[in-house]
Amino acid sequence: VTATRPLPMPGEDSAPYWEAAARHVLAVARCSRCRSYVVPPGQTCPRCRATDPGFVFEQVSGQGRVRSWIVMRQSFLPGFSAEVPFVLVDVELAEQAELRLIGRLLDGPDVRLRVGDRVTVAFEDVAPGVAVPAFVLGGDA
Protein backbone atom coordinates (compact mmCIF):
# COMPACT_ATOMS: atom_id res chain seq x y z
CA VAL A 1 0.00 0.00 0.00
CA THR A 2 2.71 2.45 0.94
CA ALA A 3 4.31 2.05 -2.48
CA THR A 4 1.53 4.12 -4.03
CA ARG A 5 2.24 7.16 -1.84
CA PRO A 6 3.91 10.07 -3.66
CA LEU A 7 7.63 9.43 -3.69
CA PRO A 8 10.15 12.25 -3.29
CA MET A 9 11.98 13.08 -6.50
CA PRO A 10 15.26 14.58 -5.35
CA GLY A 11 16.73 17.51 -7.22
CA GLU A 12 20.35 18.62 -7.34
CA ASP A 13 19.83 20.71 -4.22
CA SER A 14 18.07 18.03 -2.20
CA ALA A 15 19.75 14.74 -3.14
CA PRO A 16 21.92 14.65 0.02
CA TYR A 17 18.82 15.02 2.20
CA TRP A 18 17.15 11.97 0.66
CA GLU A 19 20.41 9.97 0.55
CA ALA A 20 20.78 10.54 4.30
CA ALA A 21 17.12 9.74 4.92
CA ALA A 22 17.52 6.43 3.11
CA ARG A 23 20.19 5.61 5.73
CA HIS A 24 17.76 6.79 8.46
CA VAL A 25 19.78 9.92 9.14
CA LEU A 26 18.19 13.37 9.33
CA ALA A 27 20.49 15.86 7.59
CA VAL A 28 19.47 19.52 7.30
CA ALA A 29 20.84 22.07 4.85
CA ARG A 30 23.24 24.53 6.46
CA CYS A 31 24.44 27.79 4.89
CA SER A 32 28.20 27.66 4.46
CA ARG A 33 28.33 31.49 4.85
CA CYS A 34 26.37 32.13 8.07
CA ARG A 35 26.06 28.54 9.31
CA SER A 36 22.29 28.78 9.80
CA TYR A 37 20.07 25.77 9.13
CA VAL A 38 17.50 26.24 6.37
CA VAL A 39 14.33 24.24 5.61
CA PRO A 40 13.81 23.90 2.72
CA PRO A 41 17.02 25.12 1.04
CA GLY A 42 16.43 27.57 -1.81
CA GLN A 43 18.52 29.75 -4.08
CA THR A 44 19.53 32.19 -1.36
CA CYS A 45 20.07 31.96 2.38
CA PRO A 46 17.01 33.49 4.09
CA ARG A 47 19.15 34.63 7.01
CA CYS A 48 22.32 36.16 5.47
CA ARG A 49 20.83 36.63 1.97
CA ALA A 50 23.85 35.02 0.30
CA THR A 51 23.17 34.07 -3.31
CA ASP A 52 25.89 31.43 -3.08
CA PRO A 53 24.97 29.80 0.25
CA GLY A 54 26.74 26.56 -0.64
CA PHE A 55 24.29 24.55 1.43
CA VAL A 56 25.80 21.50 3.10
CA PHE A 57 23.55 18.84 4.57
CA GLU A 58 24.66 18.10 8.12
CA GLN A 59 23.30 15.48 10.45
CA VAL A 60 21.19 16.93 13.26
CA SER A 61 20.09 15.43 16.55
CA GLY A 62 16.63 14.54 15.31
CA GLN A 63 15.25 15.94 18.57
CA GLY A 64 12.52 18.53 18.62
CA ARG A 65 9.35 19.78 20.18
CA VAL A 66 5.77 19.80 18.91
CA ARG A 67 4.51 23.25 17.91
CA SER A 68 1.19 22.08 16.43
CA TRP A 69 -0.53 19.02 15.00
CA ILE A 70 -3.52 17.83 13.00
CA VAL A 71 -5.29 14.50 12.66
CA MET A 72 -5.70 13.53 9.02
CA ARG A 73 -8.99 11.68 8.50
CA GLN A 74 -9.06 12.33 4.76
CA SER A 75 -6.20 12.77 2.33
CA PHE A 76 -6.25 14.30 -1.14
CA LEU A 77 -3.21 12.21 -2.12
CA PRO A 78 -3.02 8.59 -3.28
CA GLY A 79 -1.64 5.93 -0.99
CA PHE A 80 -2.92 7.34 2.29
CA SER A 81 -6.41 5.80 2.37
CA ALA A 82 -5.11 2.84 4.36
CA GLU A 83 -3.16 5.20 6.63
CA VAL A 84 -5.98 7.48 7.84
CA PRO A 85 -6.48 8.53 10.49
CA PHE A 86 -2.92 9.63 11.16
CA VAL A 87 -1.28 12.53 12.93
CA LEU A 88 0.94 15.15 11.32
CA VAL A 89 3.15 17.17 13.67
CA ASP A 90 4.75 20.56 13.16
CA VAL A 91 8.11 20.14 14.91
CA GLU A 92 10.67 22.76 15.89
CA LEU A 93 14.07 21.06 15.77
CA ALA A 94 16.40 21.48 18.75
CA GLU A 95 19.22 22.94 16.65
CA GLN A 96 17.71 26.36 15.89
CA ALA A 97 14.69 28.49 16.78
CA GLU A 98 11.90 28.30 14.19
CA LEU A 99 13.64 25.48 12.29
CA ARG A 100 10.44 23.57 11.63
CA LEU A 101 9.67 20.30 9.85
CA ILE A 102 6.32 18.62 9.29
CA GLY A 103 6.11 14.85 9.56
CA ARG A 104 3.88 11.96 10.45
CA LEU A 105 3.76 11.01 14.14
CA LEU A 106 4.06 7.24 14.21
CA ASP A 107 2.53 6.73 17.67
CA GLY A 108 -1.00 6.24 16.33
CA PRO A 109 -4.00 8.56 15.92
CA ASP A 110 -5.29 8.51 19.50
CA VAL A 111 -2.22 9.89 21.26
CA ARG A 112 -2.78 12.89 23.54
CA LEU A 113 -0.52 15.75 22.49
CA ARG A 114 0.46 19.07 23.99
CA VAL A 115 2.45 21.93 22.53
CA GLY A 116 6.05 21.42 23.63
CA ASP A 117 5.94 17.61 23.69
CA ARG A 118 9.33 16.09 22.89
CA VAL A 119 9.71 14.06 19.72
CA THR A 120 12.53 12.24 17.96
CA VAL A 121 12.94 11.64 14.26
CA ALA A 122 12.02 8.23 12.87
CA PHE A 123 11.85 6.97 9.31
CA GLU A 124 9.27 5.29 7.13
CA ASP A 125 10.66 3.02 4.43
CA VAL A 126 8.20 3.70 1.62
CA ALA A 127 10.01 2.12 -1.35
CA PRO A 128 13.32 0.37 -1.96
CA GLY A 129 16.02 2.91 -1.12
CA VAL A 130 13.48 5.59 -0.17
CA ALA A 131 12.73 6.61 3.42
CA VAL A 132 10.66 9.57 4.58
CA PRO A 133 11.46 11.34 7.87
CA ALA A 134 8.73 11.11 10.51
CA PHE A 135 8.60 11.47 14.31
CA VAL A 136 7.87 9.46 17.43
CA LEU A 137 7.09 10.79 20.90
CA GLY A 138 9.97 11.05 23.36
CA GLY A 139 13.54 12.28 23.38
CA ASP A 140 15.96 14.37 25.38
CA ALA A 141 15.71 17.72 23.62
Binding site: R5, P8, G11, P40, S68, L77, L88, I102
Partner: protein, 400 residues
Protein backbone atom coordinates in the same frame (compact mmCIF):
# COMPACT_ATOMS: atom_id res chain seq x y z
CA UNK B 1 5.12 63.94 1.66
CA UNK B 2 2.18 61.99 3.04
CA UNK B 3 2.41 58.22 2.81
CA UNK B 4 -1.28 58.17 1.95
CA UNK B 5 -1.97 57.10 -1.62
CA UNK B 6 -2.44 59.92 -4.11
CA UNK B 7 -5.19 57.73 -5.64
CA UNK B 8 -7.16 57.59 -2.38
CA UNK B 9 -10.86 58.16 -3.08
CA UNK B 10 -10.15 59.21 -6.67
CA UNK B 11 -11.70 55.98 -7.98
CA UNK B 12 -15.17 54.62 -7.25
CA UNK B 13 -17.37 51.61 -7.91
CA UNK B 14 -20.41 52.59 -9.99
CA UNK B 15 -22.14 49.31 -10.79
CA UNK B 16 -22.09 45.56 -10.35
CA UNK B 17 -23.66 42.25 -11.26
CA UNK B 18 -23.50 38.82 -9.66
CA UNK B 19 -24.53 35.40 -10.92
CA UNK B 20 -26.28 32.78 -8.88
CA UNK B 21 -23.78 30.80 -6.81
CA UNK B 22 -24.24 27.14 -7.72
CA UNK B 23 -22.36 23.88 -7.28
CA UNK B 24 -22.40 23.53 -11.07
CA UNK B 25 -23.81 26.29 -13.23
CA UNK B 26 -24.96 24.06 -16.06
CA UNK B 27 -23.35 26.34 -18.64
CA UNK B 28 -19.78 27.32 -19.48
CA UNK B 29 -18.02 29.67 -17.06
CA UNK B 30 -16.95 32.00 -19.88
CA UNK B 31 -20.48 32.54 -21.19
CA UNK B 32 -21.67 33.16 -17.65
CA UNK B 33 -18.89 35.73 -17.17
CA UNK B 34 -19.86 37.56 -20.38
CA UNK B 35 -23.49 37.79 -19.26
CA UNK B 36 -22.49 39.05 -15.80
CA UNK B 37 -20.04 41.62 -17.23
CA UNK B 38 -22.67 42.97 -19.66
CA UNK B 39 -25.18 43.16 -16.80
CA UNK B 40 -22.69 45.08 -14.64
CA UNK B 41 -21.96 47.51 -17.48
CA UNK B 42 -25.69 48.08 -17.99
CA UNK B 43 -26.13 48.50 -14.23
CA UNK B 44 -23.67 51.39 -14.40
CA UNK B 45 -25.69 52.84 -17.33
CA UNK B 46 -22.74 52.37 -19.68
CA UNK B 47 -22.21 50.57 -23.00
CA UNK B 48 -19.68 47.79 -23.62
CA UNK B 49 -17.78 49.97 -26.10
CA UNK B 50 -17.26 52.56 -23.35
CA UNK B 51 -15.33 50.08 -21.22
CA UNK B 52 -11.64 50.62 -21.91
CA UNK B 53 -10.14 48.54 -19.10
CA UNK B 54 -10.52 44.96 -17.86
CA UNK B 55 -8.84 43.50 -14.79
CA UNK B 56 -9.12 40.27 -12.89
CA UNK B 57 -7.15 37.67 -11.00
CA UNK B 58 -7.74 34.39 -12.78
CA UNK B 59 -6.25 31.96 -10.24
CA UNK B 60 -7.95 28.55 -10.16
CA UNK B 61 -7.61 27.94 -6.41
CA UNK B 62 -7.39 24.16 -6.36
CA UNK B 63 -4.58 21.79 -5.46
CA UNK B 64 -6.10 19.11 -7.70
CA UNK B 65 -4.68 18.38 -11.12
CA UNK B 66 -7.54 20.04 -13.01
CA UNK B 67 -6.76 21.67 -16.35
CA UNK B 68 -6.45 25.44 -16.44
CA UNK B 69 -8.28 26.52 -19.60
CA UNK B 70 -9.25 30.11 -20.34
CA UNK B 71 -13.01 30.49 -20.66
CA UNK B 72 -13.61 27.06 -19.14
CA UNK B 73 -12.00 26.80 -15.69
CA UNK B 74 -10.73 30.38 -15.51
CA UNK B 75 -11.68 33.62 -17.28
CA UNK B 76 -8.84 36.06 -17.98
CA UNK B 77 -9.29 39.79 -18.56
CA UNK B 78 -8.45 39.48 -22.25
CA UNK B 79 -10.82 36.54 -22.75
CA UNK B 80 -13.66 38.50 -21.18
CA UNK B 81 -12.91 41.71 -23.09
CA UNK B 82 -12.83 39.89 -26.41
CA UNK B 83 -16.08 38.02 -25.80
CA UNK B 84 -17.90 41.06 -24.43
CA UNK B 85 -16.94 42.81 -27.65
CA UNK B 86 -14.90 45.60 -26.09
CA UNK B 87 -11.58 46.95 -27.34
CA UNK B 88 -9.82 47.95 -24.11
CA UNK B 89 -6.78 50.19 -23.83
CA UNK B 90 -5.81 48.30 -20.69
CA UNK B 91 -6.21 44.64 -19.67
CA UNK B 92 -4.32 43.06 -16.80
CA UNK B 93 -4.38 40.12 -14.41
CA UNK B 94 -3.12 40.19 -10.85
CA UNK B 95 -0.80 37.24 -10.29
CA UNK B 96 -0.19 37.50 -6.55
CA UNK B 97 -2.20 36.26 -3.58
CA UNK B 98 -5.05 38.34 -2.22
CA UNK B 99 -6.64 38.31 -5.64
CA UNK B 100 -9.43 40.81 -5.10
CA UNK B 101 -7.33 43.51 -3.38
CA UNK B 102 -4.69 42.94 -6.06
CA UNK B 103 -7.24 43.35 -8.84
CA UNK B 104 -8.64 46.48 -7.20
CA UNK B 105 -5.13 47.92 -7.03
CA UNK B 106 -4.66 47.36 -10.78
CA UNK B 107 -7.96 49.07 -11.57
CA UNK B 108 -7.40 51.99 -9.20
CA UNK B 109 -3.90 52.64 -10.46
CA UNK B 110 -4.95 52.41 -14.12
CA UNK B 111 -7.83 54.86 -13.65
CA UNK B 112 -5.86 57.27 -11.47
CA UNK B 113 -3.04 57.25 -14.02
CA UNK B 114 -5.38 57.73 -16.98
CA UNK B 115 -4.54 54.37 -18.54
CA UNK B 116 -8.26 53.57 -18.57
CA UNK B 117 -11.42 55.50 -17.75
CA UNK B 118 -13.99 52.74 -17.19
CA UNK B 119 -12.77 49.40 -15.88
CA UNK B 120 -14.62 46.11 -15.46
CA UNK B 121 -13.21 44.07 -12.58
CA UNK B 122 -14.44 40.50 -12.54
CA UNK B 123 -13.84 37.21 -10.76
CA UNK B 124 -14.99 33.89 -12.19
CA UNK B 125 -14.82 30.78 -10.00
CA UNK B 126 -15.25 27.24 -11.24
CA UNK B 127 -16.02 23.97 -9.50
CA UNK B 128 -14.63 21.23 -11.74
CA UNK B 129 -16.08 17.74 -11.97
CA UNK B 130 -14.40 15.31 -9.59
CA UNK B 131 -12.75 15.96 -6.24
CA UNK B 132 -11.80 19.61 -5.93
CA UNK B 133 -8.39 19.12 -4.25
CA UNK B 134 -7.76 15.44 -5.09
CA UNK B 135 -4.43 14.90 -6.78
CA UNK B 136 -3.20 11.53 -8.11
CA UNK B 137 0.44 12.60 -7.80
CA UNK B 138 2.82 9.64 -7.67
CA UNK B 139 6.05 11.63 -7.73
CA UNK B 140 6.61 14.67 -5.51
CA UNK B 141 8.90 17.07 -7.35
CA UNK B 142 10.26 20.52 -6.58
CA UNK B 143 8.98 22.08 -3.38
CA UNK B 144 6.37 19.34 -2.97
CA UNK B 145 9.10 16.76 -2.22
CA UNK B 146 9.42 18.30 1.26
CA UNK B 147 5.81 17.69 2.31
CA UNK B 148 3.73 15.45 0.01
CA UNK B 149 5.64 12.20 0.79
CA UNK B 150 4.45 12.42 4.40
CA UNK B 151 0.89 13.36 3.39
CA UNK B 152 1.01 17.11 4.08
CA UNK B 153 -0.80 18.50 1.05
CA UNK B 154 -3.62 20.88 0.17
CA UNK B 155 -5.21 23.77 2.01
CA UNK B 156 -6.95 21.87 4.82
CA UNK B 157 -3.76 20.76 6.59
CA UNK B 158 -2.40 24.23 5.80
CA UNK B 159 -5.09 25.91 7.90
CA UNK B 160 -5.36 23.06 10.41
CA UNK B 161 -1.88 23.61 11.87
CA UNK B 162 -2.22 27.33 12.72
CA UNK B 163 -5.85 26.79 13.79
CA UNK B 164 -4.72 24.20 16.32
CA UNK B 165 -1.85 26.46 17.42
CA UNK B 166 -4.45 29.12 18.16
CA UNK B 167 -6.72 26.69 20.04
CA UNK B 168 -3.81 25.49 22.19
CA UNK B 169 -2.22 28.88 22.80
CA UNK B 170 -5.37 30.74 23.81
CA UNK B 171 -7.51 27.91 25.19
CA UNK B 172 -10.10 28.44 22.46
CA UNK B 173 -12.76 25.87 21.66
CA UNK B 174 -14.66 24.51 18.69
CA UNK B 175 -17.79 25.91 20.36
CA UNK B 176 -16.31 29.36 19.84
CA UNK B 177 -15.65 28.56 16.18
CA UNK B 178 -19.24 27.40 15.82
CA UNK B 179 -20.25 31.00 16.54
CA UNK B 180 -18.21 32.15 13.50
CA UNK B 181 -19.74 29.67 11.10
CA UNK B 182 -23.29 30.07 12.41
CA UNK B 183 -23.00 33.86 11.90
CA UNK B 184 -21.71 33.42 8.33
CA UNK B 185 -24.46 30.97 7.43
CA UNK B 186 -27.16 33.10 9.09
CA UNK B 187 -26.20 35.98 6.84
CA UNK B 188 -25.67 33.87 3.73
CA UNK B 189 -29.13 32.38 4.22
CA UNK B 190 -30.56 35.90 3.69
CA UNK B 191 -28.84 36.42 0.33
CA UNK B 192 -30.91 35.23 -2.64
CA UNK B 193 -27.95 34.44 -4.93
CA UNK B 194 -26.07 32.48 -2.23
CA UNK B 195 -25.63 28.74 -2.50
CA UNK B 196 -26.79 28.63 1.13
CA UNK B 197 -29.88 30.87 0.61
CA UNK B 198 -32.56 29.88 3.09
CA UNK B 199 -30.23 27.36 4.78
CA UNK B 200 -28.77 28.65 8.06
CA UNK B 201 -26.65 26.33 10.21
CA UNK B 202 -27.21 25.62 13.89
CA UNK B 203 -24.52 25.30 16.54
CA UNK B 204 -25.60 21.70 17.06
CA UNK B 205 -25.24 20.90 13.36
CA UNK B 206 -21.77 22.45 13.33
CA UNK B 207 -20.58 20.52 16.38
CA UNK B 208 -22.01 17.24 15.05
CA UNK B 209 -20.19 17.46 11.72
CA UNK B 210 -17.45 14.88 11.24
CA UNK B 211 -13.85 16.02 11.30
CA UNK B 212 -11.84 16.12 8.09
CA UNK B 213 -8.44 17.07 9.48
CA UNK B 214 -8.91 17.73 13.21
CA UNK B 215 -9.58 20.43 14.29
CA UNK B 216 -11.03 21.27 10.84
CA UNK B 217 -14.53 20.01 10.05
CA UNK B 218 -16.50 20.29 6.83
CA UNK B 219 -18.33 23.46 7.88
CA UNK B 220 -15.04 25.29 8.50
CA UNK B 221 -14.45 25.19 4.73
CA UNK B 222 -16.26 27.14 2.02
CA UNK B 223 -17.92 25.00 -0.62
CA UNK B 224 -16.55 25.02 -4.20
CA UNK B 225 -18.97 26.62 -6.65
CA UNK B 226 -19.47 28.07 -10.09
CA UNK B 227 -20.07 31.79 -9.86
CA UNK B 228 -19.13 35.15 -11.38
CA UNK B 229 -19.18 38.71 -10.13
CA UNK B 230 -18.28 41.91 -11.95
CA UNK B 231 -17.89 45.51 -10.84
CA UNK B 232 -17.51 48.70 -12.88
CA UNK B 233 -14.98 51.27 -11.64
CA UNK B 234 -14.30 54.79 -12.85
CA UNK B 235 -12.93 58.08 -11.60
CA UNK B 236 -14.73 59.94 -8.82
CA UNK B 237 -15.39 62.78 -11.29
CA UNK B 238 -17.00 60.54 -13.91
CA UNK B 239 -18.90 58.66 -11.19
CA UNK B 240 -20.93 61.81 -10.44
CA UNK B 241 -22.63 61.56 -13.82
CA UNK B 242 -23.77 57.95 -13.31
CA UNK B 243 -27.01 56.82 -11.66
CA UNK B 244 -25.81 54.91 -8.61
CA UNK B 245 -24.25 56.42 -5.53
CA UNK B 246 -20.48 55.91 -5.91
CA UNK B 247 -18.51 53.91 -3.37
CA UNK B 248 -14.96 55.22 -3.06
CA UNK B 249 -11.79 53.19 -2.76
CA UNK B 250 -9.82 54.82 0.02
CA UNK B 251 -6.87 52.45 -0.15
CA UNK B 252 -5.60 48.95 -0.55
CA UNK B 253 -2.77 46.77 0.71
CA UNK B 254 -1.19 43.48 -0.15
CA UNK B 255 0.75 41.42 2.36
CA UNK B 256 4.54 41.52 2.67
CA UNK B 257 6.59 38.66 1.21
CA UNK B 258 5.95 35.51 3.26
CA UNK B 259 8.68 33.99 5.41
CA UNK B 260 10.51 31.06 3.78
CA UNK B 261 8.82 27.87 4.97
CA UNK B 262 7.87 24.44 3.79
CA UNK B 263 5.10 24.55 1.16
CA UNK B 264 1.75 25.52 2.72
CA UNK B 265 3.33 25.80 6.18
CA UNK B 266 1.72 28.80 7.84
CA UNK B 267 2.73 29.00 11.52
CA UNK B 268 0.43 31.21 13.58
CA UNK B 269 3.23 33.66 14.34
CA UNK B 270 3.89 34.10 10.60
CA UNK B 271 0.21 34.85 10.04
CA UNK B 272 0.04 37.43 12.82
CA UNK B 273 3.43 39.08 12.15
CA UNK B 274 2.72 39.38 8.42
CA UNK B 275 -0.85 40.42 9.16
CA UNK B 276 0.34 43.29 11.34
CA UNK B 277 2.35 44.61 8.40
CA UNK B 278 -0.59 44.16 6.01
CA UNK B 279 -2.75 46.20 8.38
CA UNK B 280 -0.07 48.87 8.80
CA UNK B 281 0.18 49.25 5.03
CA UNK B 282 -3.60 49.47 4.73
CA UNK B 283 -4.02 52.20 7.35
CA UNK B 284 -1.11 54.18 5.90
CA UNK B 285 -2.29 53.84 2.31
CA UNK B 286 -5.94 54.66 3.01
CA UNK B 287 -5.62 57.25 5.78
CA UNK B 288 -8.26 55.27 7.67
CA UNK B 289 -7.73 53.63 11.06
CA UNK B 290 -9.33 50.60 12.70
CA UNK B 291 -11.65 52.68 14.85
CA UNK B 292 -13.08 54.33 11.72
CA UNK B 293 -14.25 51.03 10.20
CA UNK B 294 -17.93 50.28 10.81
CA UNK B 295 -18.31 47.58 8.13
CA UNK B 296 -15.31 45.22 8.36
CA UNK B 297 -15.77 42.20 6.10
CA UNK B 298 -13.19 39.66 7.14
CA UNK B 299 -12.13 36.78 4.93
CA UNK B 300 -13.47 33.37 5.84
CA UNK B 301 -12.55 30.85 3.15
CA UNK B 302 -11.59 28.81 6.19
CA UNK B 303 -13.27 29.82 9.43
CA UNK B 304 -10.05 30.43 11.47
CA UNK B 305 -9.21 33.33 9.16
CA UNK B 306 -12.05 35.24 10.85
CA UNK B 307 -10.22 35.18 14.19
CA UNK B 308 -6.87 35.95 12.55
CA UNK B 309 -8.18 38.97 10.61
CA UNK B 310 -10.14 40.43 13.56
CA UNK B 311 -6.91 40.40 15.57
CA UNK B 312 -4.54 41.45 12.78
CA UNK B 313 -6.71 44.49 12.03
CA UNK B 314 -6.82 45.46 15.69
CA UNK B 315 -10.61 45.05 15.86
CA UNK B 316 -10.10 43.01 19.02
CA UNK B 317 -7.00 42.17 21.10
CA UNK B 318 -4.69 39.36 19.98
CA UNK B 319 -5.82 36.06 21.49
CA UNK B 320 -9.33 37.26 22.21
CA UNK B 321 -11.14 36.92 18.87
CA UNK B 322 -12.61 33.58 19.89
CA UNK B 323 -14.23 35.14 22.97
CA UNK B 324 -15.17 38.30 21.05
CA UNK B 325 -17.17 36.30 18.51
CA UNK B 326 -18.67 33.95 21.11
CA UNK B 327 -19.87 36.98 23.09
CA UNK B 328 -21.75 38.32 20.05
CA UNK B 329 -19.05 40.76 18.92
CA UNK B 330 -19.77 40.21 15.20
CA UNK B 331 -23.53 39.60 15.41
CA UNK B 332 -24.82 41.68 12.51
CA UNK B 333 -28.25 41.95 14.13
CA UNK B 334 -26.80 43.73 17.17
CA UNK B 335 -26.37 47.44 16.39
CA UNK B 336 -23.57 47.66 18.95
CA UNK B 337 -21.53 44.84 17.36
CA UNK B 338 -19.09 44.84 14.40
CA UNK B 339 -20.93 43.22 11.46
CA UNK B 340 -17.79 41.39 10.25
CA UNK B 341 -19.62 38.69 8.28
CA UNK B 342 -22.80 40.59 7.36
CA UNK B 343 -22.33 39.71 3.69
CA UNK B 344 -22.20 36.02 4.53
CA UNK B 345 -18.58 35.68 3.45
CA UNK B 346 -17.38 32.59 1.66
CA UNK B 347 -18.78 30.26 4.31
CA UNK B 348 -22.24 31.74 3.77
CA UNK B 349 -22.15 32.16 -0.03
CA UNK B 350 -19.77 29.56 -1.48
CA UNK B 351 -16.16 29.79 -2.65
CA UNK B 352 -16.41 33.22 -4.31
CA UNK B 353 -12.90 34.07 -3.11
CA UNK B 354 -13.13 37.57 -1.68
CA UNK B 355 -16.13 38.67 -3.73
CA UNK B 356 -18.68 38.45 -0.87
CA UNK B 357 -16.55 40.83 1.20
CA UNK B 358 -16.16 43.37 -1.64
CA UNK B 359 -19.81 43.09 -2.66
CA UNK B 360 -21.10 43.66 0.87
CA UNK B 361 -19.01 46.83 1.15
CA UNK B 362 -20.38 48.05 -2.18
CA UNK B 363 -24.03 47.18 -1.50
CA UNK B 364 -24.14 48.67 2.00
CA UNK B 365 -22.13 51.83 1.25
CA UNK B 366 -24.10 52.56 -1.96
CA UNK B 367 -27.42 51.99 -0.21
CA UNK B 368 -28.29 49.08 -2.49
CA UNK B 369 -28.52 46.26 0.06
CA UNK B 370 -32.32 46.11 -0.06
CA UNK B 371 -33.89 44.35 2.90
CA UNK B 372 -30.43 43.85 4.39
CA UNK B 373 -29.58 47.57 4.21
CA UNK B 374 -27.75 48.74 7.32
CA UNK B 375 -28.06 52.27 8.67
CA UNK B 376 -24.98 54.39 9.19
CA UNK B 377 -22.41 52.22 7.40
CA UNK B 378 -19.72 54.65 6.25
CA UNK B 379 -16.36 52.85 6.08
CA UNK B 380 -16.07 49.27 4.81
CA UNK B 381 -13.06 47.00 4.75
CA UNK B 382 -12.89 43.90 2.56
CA UNK B 383 -10.25 41.26 3.34
CA UNK B 384 -8.98 38.45 1.19
CA UNK B 385 -7.00 35.28 1.95
CA UNK B 386 -4.74 35.19 5.00
CA UNK B 387 -3.58 38.33 6.87
CA UNK B 388 0.05 37.40 6.07
CA UNK B 389 -0.57 36.18 2.54
CA UNK B 390 -3.44 38.22 1.13
CA UNK B 391 -4.67 41.77 1.19
CA UNK B 392 -7.48 44.17 1.99
CA UNK B 393 -9.27 47.23 0.61
CA UNK B 394 -10.94 50.14 2.39
CA UNK B 395 -14.16 51.52 0.87
CA UNK B 396 -15.97 54.69 1.92
CA UNK B 397 -19.47 56.04 1.31
CA UNK B 398 -18.08 59.58 0.94
CA UNK B 399 -14.61 60.75 -0.13
CA UNK B 400 -12.37 60.33 2.94
Amino acid sequence: MSPRSRAACRVAIVGYAHSAVQRHAGRPLGALAVDVAREAIADAALEPETIDGFVTAALFPTSGDHAVEDGVSIVSADWLAMHVGAAPRYAAGFQGIGQIPGSVSLAVNAIAAGAADYVVLHRALHNPAGGYHHNPMREARGSRQWTAPQGYFGPLPMIGLPYNEYLQRYGASREAMAAVVVEARKNGARIPWSYWYGRPLSTGEYLAAPMINDPVCRFDCDIPVDGVAAFVLTSAERARDLPHKPVYIAGYASSPPPAPRLPLHWPLDDIMDGGAETARRLWEHSGVGPSDVDLPQVYDGFSPFVWFWLEALGLCPVGEAHRFVLDGGIDCDDPAALPALSGGGALGNGRMHGIPQMLECYLQLSGRAGERQRRNATVGLACHSSPHYGGAVVYTAEPW
